[in-house]
Symmetry: C2
DNA sequence: CCGCATCCGTTACGATACTG
DNA sequence: CAGTATCGTAACGGATGCGG
């Protein structure tokens, strides 16, 4: 049976809010982060996150990010096995935002976080 | 009975991930957005969001953001009534991130969003 | 094995009613 | 006005199954 996942529901016309409608969750940007660092990643690469994403969440995020064209399969027609994902131009455009977030956390979350690491 | 809200649970030592542990949800950054624009806002100002945040979510976010020192009450010892919030330095430091997010959405989410508006 | 989908218990969210 | 209590719903998270 074909999976039918609903479209994103936009809460308002504010672009910032629309960004949060899409990537305002705890996992989507971590997937983008990994792709920014490594260029391409497979399903099992993502599963090896130190943050331990579960399989159903990963699958749904990959699907959503694909439909929004932030990521894409490297070999769209190929077999799913060992097929990797990479960022589209839209996904790559998140680099400065992600870097800004990381720097912000590194500077301003220090006092609340015992073992915060260097910026990766 | 006194409200006891747990601390943030940090998934990893990655700063970017820690940022998402804190503001990786659909509402926190919208509160920051409003404070960046208006300087200070009351509880009812936030409730007037076009995105329609509900009262319990708003209260819990304001509490969390306060404990993380991203926002603070203007008159900490005063009565709650008509008491407004403003950003701390940590909160203000999110401006560039927020602006980046807005620009990104405006550019890359156009095709998926019927009525996306100008950058506010 | 790898890439998911499914089941299921738990947690977060969201709408609404209510209190000081 | 500024929250809190309640409760139904949706999302999450872990375990497991299953096709290729």
């Amino acid at each position: 049976m074909s999976k039918e996942i609903d479209a994103v529901e936009w809460r308002s016309v504010c672009p910032m809010c629309s960004a949060l409608d899409v990537i305002g969750d705890r996992w989507s940007l971590l997937i983008v982060r990994d792709l920014l660092i490594h260029g391409k990643r497979t399903y099992s690469d993502f599963l090896a996150f130190p943050e331990k994403i579960s399989t159903n969440i990963l699958a749904s995020r990959l699907d959503l990010l694909t439909r929004l064209k932030l990521i894409e399969r490297i070999n769209p027609k190929g077999n799913a096995r060992n097929n990797a994902f990479q960022l589209t131009e839209s996904g790559k455009a998140l680099r400065t935002v992600l870097e800004g977030l990381g720097k912000w956390a590194h500077t301003h979350l220090r006092d609340f976080h015992g073992g915060i690491a260097k910026i990766s």
